[in-house]
Symmetry: C2
Amino acid sequence: MQKPSLPKGTRDFGPEQMARRNYIFNKIKRTFEKYGFQPLETPSMENLSVLTGKYGDEGDQLLFKILNSGEFLKKTSPAEYESGEKAMLPKIAEKGLRYDLTVPFARYVVMNRHNVNLPFKRYQIQPVWRADRPQKGRYREFFQCDADVVGTDSLICEAEIIMMMTEVFGKLGLENYEIKINNRKLLGALAELAGASDKESDLLVAIDKLDKIGIDKVVEELKSKGFSDESLNKILPVLDLSGPNQNKISELESLFSDSETGKKGTEEIKEIFEILDTTNTPTDKVSLDLTLARGLSYYTGAIFEVKPLNVKMGSISGGGRYDDLTGVFGMPGLSGVGFSFGVDRIYDVMEELNLFPDEGLKTIDVMIAHFDNESLKYGLGVISKLRANDISSEIYPDIAKPKKQFTYANNKNIPFVIVIGSEEIKSGLLSFKNMKTGDQESLTIDQIIEKLK
Amino acid sequence: MQKPSLPKGTRDFGPEQMARRNYIFNKIKRTFEKYGFQPLETPSMENLSVLTGKYGDEGDQLLFKILNSGEFLKKTSPAEYESGEKAMLPKIAEKGLRYDLTVPFARYVVMNRHNVNLPFKRYQIQPVWRADRPQKGRYREFFQCDADVVGTDSLICEAEIIMMMTEVFGKLGLENYEIKINNRKLLGALAELAGASDKESDLLVAIDKLDKIGIDKVVEELKSKGFSDESLNKILPVLDLSGPNQNKISELESLFSDSETGKKGTEEIKEIFEILDTTNTPTDKVSLDLTLARGLSYYTGAIFEVKPLNVKMGSISGGGRYDDLTGVFGMPGLSGVGFSFGVDRIYDVMEELNLFPDEGLKTIDVMIAHFDNESLKYGLGVISKLRANDISSEIYPDIAKPKKQFTYANNKNIPFVIVIGSEEIKSGLLSFKNMKTGDQESLTIDQIIEKLK
């Protein structure tokens, strides 16, 4: 008999983990919906023609491909078999598993362009799959949690991203974190200022590593890419800007007074802060950080990242504005701004900081324990009253020793147990036990319902 | 530029469909949880060693297989390529997509046998994939919605399945349906009674087709399988039993007075009805139906099926008791009972009967419309107050013509719009428009909050 196992890099989520995960998902969903985002779900499988070429060569490698069903070798030839994977792949696999939520979203918008209500605010919480080498904290199946607005340039959307980040982390009880904001236009202007407009992407890639490798290595890398000392003398002080956000903005205003791109980037940042002020959004955790680059992705305006402080952990949320979501599918010029929450990391941070509340994790309100057939039958009447009052409840289904029944309730995190024996049936006063404190009271069923409601 | 498309048999769920689907899912989830079931999620991918051989030959064909990543031809030989799919498959694919939720559940229980809190009540709502030929109402990716209790023989579980079915369909506003119940032991006893114990599965298969092909063809099929006229004379009157459930039970009691299996099956049915009585569960929609067979699956006790009446549609819920969930993974003797809801079919029935309530489908409570920069800015203050009171709301993000803003709100099913212009700013009395009736009132922000809360 085989011992069953899980594929590498995948996980089961048992009842306790599900309760914790749903606790996080529900706060995020509620916040997305409160701000007017609507849910979208796309199929797990996409045609490889939709997925391939969207994530770079490495991404194409990491796509999980689905073998065509039935006679999957039918379209292949021995010559193709001999020449290897590259020739065989397109003949034996037409579909792949979703790699992220952005490409399926773009595909959806293009396929539904005549029905989509612009500006379209959608959120999407679904698993994605990547054939990455599994390692600690990196999975082959994991959930992404995205919200995007497309079809508007309004900076209200950027400000609302900061509001939603603040609201979600506030609801989750996370207090020590920093929301970093920057603007790709500022980084472009910086390259321009340094006389290295042609090397903007080299600058981005180098800055992106600052956290990991430190400023000295970044300087080294920039030099190796051909940045002159003179260039570096213009760039480094900007990366080093500190002090309150307003001061940084003032410095950028004077620094970029001659740069159209720089002025635009600064104005955008300024307006986002103004909207945050107008809406009374606290900005003490928001920091304009010129060293935030967000890799080489397609961002063109504001970019965001949230880092927890006091915990060793990468970013737990991030996003930015892009100019062209759907151009690759033949529908150019649709701009938008989006962000996502990293649920696995948030889970780990909350566990480390002990932020999951007991109350949020309880399964049902009350269990009924009993001693014999008579009390079991009486209990069935009791439970039907509880449920008629919409109280989550269960009755231990078998005649079993009290200890076994209480252990079951304890393991399941059930806060209260009603104990029914012959005494209770006679008097109509049920023993109502608090499983945490051990306290026990004698109450009528109506009193119990009153307490639990 | 390629036109993007969806793989055959898969679907996007846009905001409106999601709202309707979530309406159904939420009622089901709430009911499962109210009865003490806890959520479980398993990975989309399973090792093929876990999946293969569990669903019969046809099932194995319908499994979606995932191509190994990287050099997937490495383990193959030209000879294997020449000999075809059967030889190649195990060398190029180790994983497959989940085909149902039962096998992954069994695998989970076996892998976590030391931590599972028995009796274990789990529910699982996740997509499954089958490489079926796509056709109307049949998809290659669809959600299953299962609840199972394992580790107890208590018939309370069977009765609670009927309670949950009643509760879910009641909450969804479905009134015309029938819950059919039968017991595999009764069908076994029937074969025994007819002197055809060795042909029990032929009997099951034939009865299972009764709805589709009618009694004459069933008789024909049974004859072709070797059932004698004498046998049929014993079987047919039982299949034809009618009248109230209690009468049917009495008839079965006398019919099976000499059959251990028959007596056991009848007693089980009787006890389930007794528990339903004790818990005041209405049984007017529950019907003991000796012609219910539930195919050839692994059921050994009670079986259930729900059919909507007045709508042409197959079963929308079903399940049954089984003796051995995990034996195939080396952990024998774990019995249980489970059932599932067919969400796609329920969706179609509700749409046909117009049962989706507007209220359940609204996206946000209110939108703010405005005329210019000044009213937009004023609106930002208003929306921050709404959201501080946990009211779902959005502000139209761009300066745009009122008509455009109202169309957006209408398309999004937003019930109220607050209109802000210079008058409103001066007076502090905002125009509060009911989008359904067209009624408009002048209210302070506090009055609006009071109305919306």
